[in-house]
Amino acid sequence: MTDQGSYYVPEQSKLPLGAALGMGTMGFGAAMWVIDGQSATVFFVGLAILAIVMYKWWGIVIEENMNGMVSNQLKHSYVLGMLWFIFSEVMFFAAFFGALFYVRVLVNPWLGGEAAITLFDDTPTDASTANAELLYPGYEATWPPLVTPDQAANGESAKFVGPDQAMSFPGFSSWQRILAWLPLWNTIILLTSSYTVNIAHHAIKEGDRKTFTRWLGITVLLGIVFLFLQAEEYIEAYQHMGLTLDSGIYGTTFFLLTGFHGAHVTLGTIMLLVSFLRGLRGHFKDNDHFGFEAAAWYWHFVDVVWVGLFLIVYVFD
């Protein structure tokens, strides 16, 4: 409810239709691609269209801002847009965290013939007893499950074979093992990066461009290191721990949660990198730097998700 009348309603634009075309082509192409595993061309054509449109689109938005066409009210619309976008991302992760919670707390005991929630009653139901007796004899409900129900019942011929090892916290047995545990380093890196991006934020608020670019650059580097370590962890999982996408529900939830987190880190890093490059070009003012601020919020969000992941997926399992 601020200064009305100056609200900037843009001219007709080809970009939205272009973006929709790009997205539609990507969707169609992605389906073709997963079905036969090779026809990826259509997907990449769509991606290229979308990338070009995005580049232009944000280019125009930046230009409009630099030309002073963006009122405070419009800026507030952008702020709201970003906040609610982040909220939608939170809900996306909630779906996967919810899935993890459900299988871990409820399904896993049922498959092992136990009662799930022992709060009211710790006698197994006849259905869960039947699971253990008739479907998966020998399956024991533990988390992380190194043996899948399938494997417990069918041994060699099982379709889902559990991992040899889980990515768990190695325990306080020795410092070496704790220090060699990548998730810990990743946590430290991400927490640090949240701090460094904050320094950059304060710097730009005070108009200190040099400090801003320096600390933002460091943040981007930390993001890249994180991704590097994450890749390292995946290689380790696949090559040495037998932990893969098809090693049952543990592998499933582990890779999907950390994988989507990694994808978001990638996106966040790109956003910060763009801000960094814009910073070098002299964009952003002490009272006008929302492009960067949005990226920084996103980065904090990614960080918070990681803390959740670290505690739930890695430490308390």
């Binding site: 049922w110 498959l111 139901t125 006849d126 259905a127 869960s128 039947a130 699971n131 008739l134 479907l135 129900p149 379709k159």
Partner: protein, 376 residues
């Protein structure tokens, strides 16, 4: 006002009586009362809910119609200009809440009955397959498939439909009266749902997990139900038929079932002729395979492969037996090892290899199948 009330009351009585008395059948209006304690409890709570809703409806709509009639502009009504009245708003929040509280009691007690599966006398494992049911009497070593018996000709209108159209199966589930029977229900491929309205038993058959339900009745008879979870193409063609027999008859039936199995074991070693196999094979194919692979083996493009000239059907017998015994994991092609006898499997394979232009001219014997099974 009082005339209006009389009319409403008359409609109400009419509806209430016609609902309460309707029998299941043509032009039927209401759910059957059923024959178990649970089904009666469910019926009662259903009727109670319906009466409450009708009563609320009569009051709410009655008032509404009165307003619509009395406060028409054409009747010269002038609009008042009041709004918000705290007392009224509190009342119409609290009164429904109290009604709900009243409904919660019968709702809870009836649900407790549904869940009371402890201490059964008989355990039966029910498995949903695309598109048939398997019943296994746990601890009795009896297990059989129950498939639709209605012919394709009836379904596609080539012959008149029988009285039991889509409600008849090859073998019904048989249970005794006055025994608490517990059903342990699971699925083989996709989710099905096992429903017998007269028992008020409806539980999903989930692949890889069990659910449970129970029934106990003193009324012998045949009770027909259905699969109620969308499970693919022939979802509407896998009825549930349960026959409740008097206890003595039930045990007789059970003994007969066991004798049948013993008799079968003695025929398996026999050498079957081409004609015998073709005839038997055609029958088995029609019941067990044609649903997917279609009457002439042509399949449905993109879903069910054609068997005409298929590399497996025209390949080594060994592989062909293999695919029937093992199925194809993660596809609708299920394992038939438990569903069909060795004779049936041999016959259907033989039939496929020598029909629709597949011209293998070899012969498959039940013994081949048995040997394959044992060597596994």
């Amino acid at each position: 006002m009082s005339r209006l009330f009389k009319i409403i009351a008359a409609i109400y009585t009419f509806l209430a009586t016609s609902f309460a008395s309707a029998e299941s059948g043509f032009w039927s209006l209401n759910m059957p009362r059923g024959v178990t304690e649970v089904s009666n409890a469910v019926y009662d709570v259903h009727m109670l809910m319906m009466y409450i809703c009708i009563a609320i409806g009569v009051v709410v709509f009655g008032f509404m119609f009165y307003v619509m009639f009395a406060h028409r502009k054409s009747r010269g009504a002038k609009a008042a200009n009041f709004h918000e009245n705290f007392t009224v708003e509190v009342i119409w929040t609290i009164v429904p809440a109290i009604i709900l509280l009243g409904m919660a009691f019968p709702a809870t007690t009836s649900l407790l009955k549904v869940y009371d599966t402890d201490n059964p006398d008989i355990d039966i494992k029910v498995t949903g397959y695309q598109w048939k049911w398997q019943y296994e009497y746990l601890g009795e070593d009896i297990k059989f498939m129950s498939e639709l018996r209605t012919s394709q000709d009836e379904q596609y209108g080539r012959v008149p439909k029988g009285e039991h159209y889509l409600r008849e199966v090859t073998q019904p589930l048989v249970i005794p009266t006055n025994k608490k029977v517990r059903f342990l229900i699971t699925g083989n491929d996709v989710i099905h749902s096992w429903w017998v309205p007269d028992f008020a038993v409806k539980k999903d058959a989930i692949p890889g997990l069990f659910t449970s339900a129970w029934a106990k009745t003193d009324q012998p008879g045949v009770y027909v139900g259905a699969c109620t979870e969308l499970c693919g193409k022939d979802h509407s063609r896998m009825p549930v038929v349960v026959e409740v027999k008097e206890e003595a008859d039930y045990y007789e039936w059970l003994a007969g079932k066991k004798a049948e199995a013993a008799l079968y074991a003695s025929t398996i070693g026999k050498d079957w002729s081409n004609d015998e196999l073709m005839q038997k094979g055609k029958e088995v194919y029609g019941i067990s395979c044609a649903g997917c692979h279609q009457a002439q083996g042509e399949g449905i493009a993109g879903i069910f492969p054609s068997l005409v000239g298929s590399s497996i059907v025209t390949g080594p017998i060994e592989d062909h037996i293999g695919i029937l015994i093992n199925g194809v994991a993660g596809s609708a092609m299920q394992s038939f090892a438990d569903q069909l006898s060795e004779v049936d499997i041999a016959a259907v394979i033989h039939y496929k290899r020598n029909s629709w232009g597949n011209d293998m001219n070899d012969i498959v014997q039940p013994l081949d199948v048995l040997n394959y099974k044992q060597s596994r």
